[in-house]
Symmetry: D2
Subunit: 359 residues, 4 copies
Amino acid sequence: MAMMMKAAVFVEPGRIELDDKPIPDIGPNDALIRVTTTTICGTDVHILKGEYPVAKGLTVGHEPVGIIEKLGSNVQGYREGQRVIAGAICPSFTSYACQDHCSAQDGGSHSHGYKPMGGWRFGNSIDGAQAEYLRVPDAQANLSPVPDGLTDEQVLMCPDIMSTGFAGAESANIRIGDTVAVFAQGPIGLCATAGAKLRGASKIIVVDGIDERLQMARQMGADITLDFRKVDVVAEILKLTGGRGVDASIEALGLQSTFEAALRVLKPGGTLSSLGVYSTDLRIPLDAFCAGLGDHKIVTSLCPGGKERMRRLMDVIASGRVDLGPMVTHRYPLEKIVEAYDLFSHQRDGVLKVAIQAI
Amino acid sequence: MAMMMKAAVFVEPGRIELDDKPIPDIGPNDALIRVTTTTICGTDVHILKGEYPVAKGLTVGHEPVGIIEKLGSNVQGYREGQRVIAGAICPSFTSYACQDHCSAQDGGSHSHGYKPMGGWRFGNSIDGAQAEYLRVPDAQANLSPVPDGLTDEQVLMCPDIMSTGFAGAESANIRIGDTVAVFAQGPIGLCATAGAKLRGASKIIVVDGIDERLQMARQMGADITLDFRKVDVVAEILKLTGGRGVDASIEALGLQSTFEAALRVLKPGGTLSSLGVYSTDLRIPLDAFCAGLGDHKIVTSLCPGGKERMRRLMDVIASGRVDLGPMVTHRYPLEKIVEAYDLFSHQRDGVLKVAIQAI
Amino acid sequence: MAMMMKAAVFVEPGRIELDDKPIPDIGPNDALIRVTTTTICGTDVHILKGEYPVAKGLTVGHEPVGIIEKLGSNVQGYREGQRVIAGAICPSFTSYACQDHCSAQDGGSHSHGYKPMGGWRFGNSIDGAQAEYLRVPDAQANLSPVPDGLTDEQVLMCPDIMSTGFAGAESANIRIGDTVAVFAQGPIGLCATAGAKLRGASKIIVVDGIDERLQMARQMGADITLDFRKVDVVAEILKLTGGRGVDASIEALGLQSTFEAALRVLKPGGTLSSLGVYSTDLRIPLDAFCAGLGDHKIVTSLCPGGKERMRRLMDVIASGRVDLGPMVTHRYPLEKIVEAYDLFSHQRDGVLKVAIQAI
Amino acid sequence: MAMMMKAAVFVEPGRIELDDKPIPDIGPNDALIRVTTTTICGTDVHILKGEYPVAKGLTVGHEPVGIIEKLGSNVQGYREGQRVIAGAICPSFTSYACQDHCSAQDGGSHSHGYKPMGGWRFGNSIDGAQAEYLRVPDAQANLSPVPDGLTDEQVLMCPDIMSTGFAGAESANIRIGDTVAVFAQGPIGLCATAGAKLRGASKIIVVDGIDERLQMARQMGADITLDFRKVDVVAEILKLTGGRGVDASIEALGLQSTFEAALRVLKPGGTLSSLGVYSTDLRIPLDAFCAGLGDHKIVTSLCPGGKERMRRLMDVIASGRVDLGPMVTHRYPLEKIVEAYDLFSHQRDGVLKVAIQAI
């Protein structure tokens, strides 16, 4: 008889509930992880609301920190009891897409090997991390040991939002001395700000409408904070750059208004790096786009995964270059995850990220 | 008293006429070129129609082939009588934008150094090439000697459409073995096709609705030609790529429909390289954009200029790698340029490019 | 009792012999391939001579074309009887090195994941392709189906020398309009020439001392051939470039003299792309290196592998862009492979590549 | 009669003396700068010793901070009295080399446009900055206004060593999370350390043999300092990286021993970024180079110049990201520059950089 565990399960739009499910079996290339800490992502809220469809009964969550409970027969170089993380994007690394440096769009063994967002499996196409145990597929490629001395909470952002936010700065190809604007300072925007600073931007202008987030942005490296409730953000950024515009802008929310503003503040030849998950068609205004002649670049990035990416991000944490600890504002045991969803989805009490802890 | 010359002048919307103007004076950093061959661009037709505003009385045209008549005192390493071309984009190369590898957006001595499309001066902000003589500013950076053995017509595409079309392939970062789709096979689209082949694409799929252009596309390197009047182009390209989509698509027309199709045929992680001059806002459909999570890149390019760019393009012609000669379908003396505009703007008689020749 | 097969085995320096060995067993992530065609590489000659050490009894060879005989239980999306190739470099694609875009230096499950040349396994660290059957490890990542209509010989260069030669052009970052010099026109140098042409080089200057190879080079895209027995190659290339030097040079032999010449013909700011396997320390002359101030780049490349790389290379063949068929100058059945080694290692009879065919 | 000024002049090997020279005349594209602060570079010491030949009578020095005294007639967008700097590399920006993104190797109006180190003019091919006045050629491209609030000493490193050191990190293509080794922590090595940190390296290991420099290195961002007098540096770095090697190493001295060590500590696939000025041929050991099969890159960089580069570097200073102020250890008036040379060339008194101030 299968051993049972607790897991946060998508029941129907509006309902994610804690349920009993069997602890997963694993195959030869898998690992079983006992999850010690995980968190809730904005995407999970989309799932909760039914805006992003997943199968009923699926365990949600894609940001695991845990301990290896069991290793498949083909998985080498790890040991049971080892502390590890795995990326939200957990690709096979064997597909055509992965070998072509596009592992987030992994189509696995499909004949052509590409699938939009196919690298995202946890809490999307397979059971996820908001549970006592998690099956990690292609474990050899995805388990990344946590360096000694780092706590669960210190590495909790690595699987998704740190990787995503940093990818925003990387895809924007930020160079030493760049001026950068970041639109929205939720968890991902804050990580994008930290990433822009790490890439050498010398002037980082951030935009949000919540005081606590603008304050936190300064801790993450923002030089100038703009409150869109108080100033005309586009006009102000153009003024701050002497009319030139920024070298790169990062969109971290997913709205037409932020996308458009991010384009309008770009210098000719600049890059708009888009991280937001949109829910409507986007409009590119003709004038902001110089009718197609402005040498603009618009780049989107899905959170990179894999053990090498996780290793790098944890190294950044270990080096003390960035401290994302202050972003964990609340803590709940897994048993109370439904309460945590309630708080997080309503953005109450200044919440940024909620740590969900094993009991 | 100033010597006079013939020049095609923008009079008012609907009227470009041949007029008498003084032969330009030159300053210490300029050169005076006697134009031996030039051509008419689609952009000139926009000017003619009043869709792109220029000053009344301006000499139009931006694709000069000619002979150095006179050199400013600071211009070194050239000699009078030498055959040269200069790019449609004719930047200062001293501005901040130029030094930051964005010379098409040259803001000159402006404090911040950027100006949208600022590198385009001929027939836009200063007198252009559809005249007997042309003043070339910043001549040291822009005059490029024509190699012996190349005719005027062989290098006539270098200043603009060859540079533009190739930039489409370069900005798409086409690699050996890529599959590429090119939307529209007018002169620029044909050059994009040739550029994609030169970059090593192994399957080039082109789209147009005019038989002659689809035929010409095969000469330029197209492997598969699709007539949008006869097939559902997006469905067909997805079928041709086994459902994967193309590595890169190049938009060479400037319409919502081609832009959108170019996005829909992209593989996740692919690049849409846009060359068209748009006249409306653009819409990015949510599904084609994977809600922002498809690792897509949208890149626009304005025709690169400068003598090094011109030198490279002429080397490509001289090597025989590409023969753009067949694209010159009609020839007119400068005196009959109004007739040439009439033919070209109405796309009569299978016209691709018209050579305008000195009398 | 194990079924037996013929295999070319390294016995001791100076002796590679055909022997009977058991047909390999396969594990869940492996495939068994019946080899229909393979070839002998210059590296195999180094093994034969004892210059590159491998274990006694190892089956040599790393360029397989064959038919899937059996698939491991985890390998999906293929079928038995399918025609496939696998790269000479056959990485795990799960290691840190592989995820960091350095799969040829794959350290597998080793804690840090890097090993010099670790991606090269066939005929190096595991049994190779000069046999009736071959075990392909990590088959999901490495088996690449041969497109219908391509013969064994047409794809025989993909696993190694085409991938290597093209990598020489790719690592040199050759751009449209570049002038390139390629030193040595053996099989790899010839492929580098073809690769330089595919990347858009407009002037390709090649150097060798064998007439047949210089002739073959013209078929592969060389514009100018120089015989080092007859001219001072460095002086000639500088003359051909007006004193400037080439944008990129490719070394395809592995000697101090070719390495040094490749550096001396570079323009300041140029790239030396090195493919040769050296057997001595290298010397960088102070003057050729501008004392370290010439913005030079020296880049080495090991043959990229994996099924995506193989797919691309076969697409290039299928497109007709390149025809490497003429490089197969001789054919032997596997039974006579010792004779083939004798011919190939002594470079008799104008040999370029020898096809070794299943009986 | 020409107005006279004081200038440090190369007399003969072993002698640089302060002399009277006419204040330079300027042409239409030049500017005349009154130098308020400059400094002495290691290269100037090579000139002093006769190891790097310059014309007798030449004014030395290439790191100017000053005030615009006079502008040529073609120079626009500046005003007399404005505080500016110009780069040690002061290119024309009109040559083929400059337009091909290689401005440090600027050949000016030479037919092919390339010259090794040709962008370095001050104190090399034209009179330099260790004088009361300096003629800046191609002033439109090279004068960069100093932001309000920055002192002369704060921007004194921008023209050369900050640009050079940062180029070392940029050419190494350092990414977020990289481990980097920097060999030698003189002024340029210290700037390379600061540059590596700005690019996001998470572990920076530096090597020197002088305590004060190792201490200063920590201020610039070093995580680990190694004293080559006390440890086997190569062994130690391999140990610190778990046997893997570093992602990138930066050579900042110009010796065989540091070059070789920088190669030996590289991971396969890593980049050696070389900044040193060598005075002997270099040897690449076969084993450290994996016989040419290690996917190694060796890249050299000459200090980038131009007003955009200077603007960026001053922005970095203004942002407070880096404080190079502590590197100015000594100050002398121009009148005592011979004393300053004596101190600096003998590396007495813990000297790092000497500010030479206008009287």
